[in-house]
């Protein structure tokens, strides 16, 4: 009979107004909300694109030995999974870097469609999930055994829940901006990140290290790039019309 705070906020019938708010926002500012990496309608306003690279020698990624969980060990028998804290691509590009507007965002409406965070073959997919404050986050467990999601939040309230096989997805949101490391207590090699941001304009670099922030109304912005091991860098960019401004970040890598 434990009644966690989420119980009261999420599906307590008397909190009807919390359901109406997103609906109205959707009606009013619909087009504004489409995030840059969603392919489709060309967004009005300027875009910022660029590439994230590194200098120096990055640490060697080690293969993860999942002997403890036979189901996952077989799944990765062919191509062993490598650790993901520093993933490099061709041409010194850096993957899993969150690039977002940290200042100058004129009160854009919050993103609303849920972020899906999967646990597949004892791996977090995606390794870094970027989301807006109060955006819905659904964590799925599609492995034949249980996982335990433990976001080590300091600013937000920390929680630690198991998700046995076949258990319903965990629906949650984060109220305050924070970079939250996520670990699975049962499989110590499983690590991921929740990047909770206060802007809907963000992108996570893929294996080619590129990112694009579209739909930016003209104005002066500070663009920040964050990497879990090499820290953060910021640059100021002014967007005038609807042209594309190139921005690039270079991180200094250390072998250990």
């Amino acid at each position: 009979m434990t009644l966690p705070p989420a119980f009261f906020r999420r599906d307590a019938p008397m909190r009807t107004h919390s359901v109406l708010l997103p609906a109205t926002v959707l009606l009013l500012g619909g087009p504004m909300l489409i995030r840059s990496d969603v392919v489709g309608a060309p967004a009005p306003g300027g875009t910022i694109t660029g590439k994230v690279t590194y200098t120096g020698t990055p640490p060697k990624m080690k293969p993860i030995d999942m002997a403890k969980e036979p189901a996952c060990a077989q799944a990765h028998a062919a191509a062993p999974v490598m650790t993901e804290n520093v993933v490099t691509g061709p041409g010194n590009t850096l993957e899993w870097v969150v690039v977002y507007i940290s200042a100058g965002d004129q009160g854009a409406a919050p993103a609303t469609e849920p972020v899906r965070y999967d646990q597949k073959n004892c791996q977090y997919i995606p390794h870094v999930a970027a989301m807006d404050v109060n955006e819905a986050l659904d964590v799925y467990n599609n492995d034949p055994h249980s996982h335990n999601i433990h976001p080590l939040a300091r600013v937000n309230p920390e929680w630690n829940k198991s998700q046995p096989k076949g258990a319903p997805p965990i629906h949650t949101t984060w109220e305050k901006p924070e970079f939250i490391p996520v670990k699975c207590n049962i499989h110590p090699w499983m690590h991921g990140w929740f990047a909770v941001l206060t802007t809907p304009h963000f992108a996570v670099t893929g294996d080619n290290g590129t990112f694009t922030l579209a739909g930016l109304p003209p104005g002066k912005y500070t663009v920040t790039a964050w990497h879990e091991q090499f820290g953060t860098q910021s640059q100021d960019v002014t967007v005038t019309g609807s042209e594309t401004k190139p921005v690039s970040f270079v991180f200094k890598a250390t072998p250990y």
């Binding site: 002997a67 207590n185 049962i186 110590p188 090699w189």
Partner: protein
């Protein structure tokens, strides 16, 4: 009613003892050097206490059968000799049984836990953490790197908190989640817990020892058969306690040396 009780108790005793004797659920075959002594001790205790168990249950059943109140006005009979035969039986018979079990048992226990490990045994450092075991081999330089709890970073597989940048002997340490050991060679484990109490239990090896945070506990054994067996945790350590499993692989010496060389190359 007394007869029904006697019948039920007898059935229960017979069925339970039969299952014990038939070994339907029994210890897995032993693969360690010290295991047979423990198995002997267990079967001795099983026989002696089994006899005591059957005797007392059947006595209870027999007396319940015979001494129901049959309204035939017969007088109650005290137990012949009063309480002294009980005390004598318990003190002498059970006492003798206890004495033998303790003397023999103490030797078996001392053989495993009170003797220092064989000097040329293979040293392996074992760390138990919330919900996994990790094993560390000294690597070619034969020396273990120092561990720093504050440097532990599971994302980059630095489970022991090694500091390869400044500590040269830590660079070649091999960290694996499966305990791979050579056949018929004494193994000396040093058990360290990273967070809470855990335990190292391999039923086939007849070996079990708790990890206590803050202590480094030695444990030594010798495996006498090859194969892949499960290491499980028997000390409650939190929600993943049931899934805190690792495997122990016993390889012939040649295969083990080859495995060690491959791992060293990967560092």
């Amino acid at each position: 009613m007394g007869k029904l009780f006697a019948v039920v108790v007898t059935i229960i005793t017979v069925v339970s003892t039969a299952i014990f004797i038939a070994h339907t659920w029994w210890l897995p075959p032993d693969i360690s050097a010290h295991g047979p002594a423990i198995d002997r001790q267990l079967s001795e205790t099983m026989i002696s206490s089994g006899v005591l168990f059957v005797l007392s249950q059947l006595a209870l059943a027999l007396f319940a059968w015979r001494f129901g109140d049959r309204k035939d006005g017969r007088r109650v009979k005290p137990f012949p000799g009063g309480a002294t035969p009980m005390v004598v039986f318990a003190a002498v018979l059970v006492g003798a049984e206890i004495l033998t079990l303790t003397l023999v048992g103490a030797k078996v226990w001392a053989g495993v836990f009170q003797t220092p490990s064989d000097p040329n045994s293979l040293q392996i450092d074992v760390q138990a953490e919330q919900f996994a075991f990790y094993f560390r081999y000294a690597g070619p330089d034969g020396r273990f790197g120092a561990t720093h709890p504050e440097l532990i970073n599971e994302a980059s597989e630095n489970f022991f908190g090694l500091d390869p940048a400044r500590d040269t002997s830590a660079r070649d340490d091999i960290v694996v989640p499966t305990l791979t050991i050579p056949l018929n060679r004494p193994i000396a484990l040093t058990l360290r817990a990273k967070d809470v109490n855990h335990a190292f239990y391999v039923p086939e090896l007849r070996i079990q020892q708790d990890f206590v945070p803050g202590l480094t506990i030695p444990l030594h054994f010798t495996a006498t058969q090859t194969g892949r067996y499960e290491i499980v945790c028997t000390q409650l350590c939190g929600l993943g306690h049931y899934n805190m499993r690792a495997y122990i692989e016993v390889l012939p010496q040649a295969q083990f040396d080859q495995w060690l060389k491959d791992k060293a190359a990967q560092q």
